[in-house]
Symmetry: C2
Subunit: 379 residues, 2 copies
């Protein structure tokens, strides 16, 4: 609620921007310029305006902003006052030019518009803001070619560090980052890629947990509904976990129960309805909660009771999974935590210049048993 007073000197005089040898004029002009108007672009005051007003040199003002305690308290107050009166805002761009950090950190996600990533993004962004950093974010829609362009674009903006979601990345992008020694972390997966530390969760383990849960309940007629695993390492890991666990229990999934399904509730619902009407399994394992929601809706539409007639598990514990009817048994992925840890890690790396390779951080998943699963009646 503080009031800024923007002092604009009305009788601005601008002389010719004389750029030639004989410096006499030039020097004078410069001086004049500085006296007459709040110099610098767009009428915004610069560090020198503040300095002038506070009766110190620009260097001192700069120091005041970067390391206040090296300037004398008296001076400090004068600068503070001057800055406030002029409505001064630092220009980090100019600062960054000088080899300083830009204060921006990049985040590349497959897509922003996705329940689980938006949680991650929000957490990452908030954590950065807490430390006076800004986030540059971009999405590539699972297109590694685009990822290269995005990395380049972020590099052009001098990001100090970058977080990449997923394990599959374009070699060119990684190489650009390596050459420039930009700290990188890989998010979401347990194990990272060559030389890139990862902060993530064990997707495989999460999948194992829900599968085992179903097996424990006596299910063996189990259907799988997973997204395309080719360009999605999360889905790949999860499905692998499911398959291996089922194998241990000697459960085979016939081909017509192993269906591919995009990340979309409506489409999942359609696929599930089809399956439920023909040859219904006793349980569905879904690649993520969004798909699981579709299955539950499909059952609801067909009057098939969950969990009495069919059990459903998801992976993710998205918003809404606890509220759906019946509440969904799933495995919680610590999206917020990952975002937060990622931000902290990168800030650390940047400020401490600690180039030591960090160990991977695995943040555990958690099986959440709700009401969409039950033991089969005739075990």
């Amino acid at each position: 609620m503080q009031t800024f007073t923007f002092l604009l000197n009305p009788q601005k005089i601008h002389q010719v921007p004389d750029c030639s040898r004989h410096m006499q004029d030039s020097k004078l002009n410069q001086l004049e310029q500085r006296l007459k108007r709040p110099r610098s672009r767009k009428g915004a005051p610069g560090i020198l305006d503040v300095a002038l007003r506070a009766g110190v040199s620009g260097a001192t003002v700069s120091r005041y902003f970067n390391n206040p305690n090296v300037v004398k308290p008296t001076t400090r107050r004068r600068i503070e006052l001057a800055a406030r009166e002029l409505g001064y805002i630092r220009d980090r761009v100019a600062g960054a030019l000088h080899g300083k950090m830009s204060g921006t950190i990049g985040l590349i996600v497959p897509t922003i518009d996705h329940a689980i990533f938006s949680e991650l993004i929000e957490a990452f962004s908030s954590q950065l803001h807490l430390h006076d950093r800004t986030m540059l974010i971009a999405s590539h829609n699972y297109d590694l070619e685009r990822e290269v362009g995005i990395v380049r674009s972020l590099l052009e903006r001098r990001i100090d560090a970058i977080a990449l979601v997923g394990r599959d990345h374009s070699v060119a992008a990684l190489e650009m980052l390596r050459v420039r020694r930009i700290p990188v972390v890989s998010l979401w997966n347990a194990e990272g890629v060559s030389g890139i530390p990862s902060i993530g969760t064990d997707n495989r383990q999460g999948a194992i947990d829900v599968t085992q849960h179903l097996i424990n309940l006596g299910h063996h007629r189990i259907a799988l509904l997973f997204p395309d695993t080719q360009f999605n390492d999360r889905a790949r890991d999860r499905k692998a976990g499911v398959i291996s666990t089922l194998a241990v229990a000697k459960i085979q999934v016939p081909e017509y129960w192993d269906r591919r399904c995009p990340y979309d509730t409506a489409q999942a619902k359609a696929v599930a309805m089809d399956m439920l009407q023909r040859n219904a399994p006793s349980a569905f394992i879904c690649g993520n909660d969004i798909i699981a929601h579709g299955v539950i809706h499909a059952a609801s539409r067909l009057g098939i009771r969950v969990p009495a007639d069919v059990s459903v598990v998801g992976i993710g514990d998205f918003k809404g999974s606890s509220a759906i009817e019946p509440p969904l048994t799933t495995v919680r992925l610590p999206a917020r935590r990952i975002g937060q840890v990622a931000a902290d890690t990168l800030i650390d790396k940047v400020t401490l210049k600690n180039m030591a390779q960090l160990p991977d951080r695995i943040i555990p998943t958690q099986l959440i048993v709700r009401e969409s699963t039950a033991a089969i009646a005739n075990g």
Copy 2:
């Protein structure tokens, strides 16, 4: 998939940029440094390295990147080659310093982790990328104080323009933007704030449409489930639309059917269960789809049929609203379109420097009648 070869020319000789008298050591160091590594920060080549390799001046290289068709095709190719060989990446920070646009545009949203905003964000971001711009995004969680800090922070990063979601903004923030003549648009609402053009949708009209739909079906025992309207102008507009439409139809909403409900399916479910068990209305109007989902789940849990026993409408047409059982009658808000138009508008304003006040853009809503509403049996 192309391979970059990073050719580092070891025996580069550069003349001493002699600045100052007694530079002996320093001079040596500098020279040494330049011999040892491809000059400039972090081992990344600069525009001058490219120029040297291509046998032209830095100016020409700069021109090549900013306006290729002013350099002769022959030269163009040489520069292109040199840049590729060195793995050169432009430094927009340095460019921006020169008064050029920074190429970044800000977006401030109440929260990123929100179905409808993340759609908006994704669209905005994609559109910017299409035009080689980058998005700086931040969220303030409905805290106007924080908004000031965020605006300042974005300004420090020299954003070229900014989009603000909502109509309520801190005066200080707006003033900072005004002084620096940063193009601003206000998103989401039909009418903007003083002097700020808006790109949005008529929330009021959307609310009127769903309400009228319900009235047409013969409902008059109607309950309202809205978020707190104090810091949320969208919710405020919507509720106002509902109330006025009901008033025209001479329908009163008793206080116990006018309930406040946060933006959360689980909590909406709880509130709705309570209402359905005591004194059930014949229809629910929900402030947004998320809340409507909660109501539908509540009914499902209690064995109350939708729409046979109770009708439910939402506002928003979020992902999942078409797949829920029963599919939700709601009004579609053109989030993606708003994001896209916003991006285009701001880019236009920045590049054309067209400071003429733009007219507000109202993108229409659309009533989507699905299966969660029905005429009441005993009209």
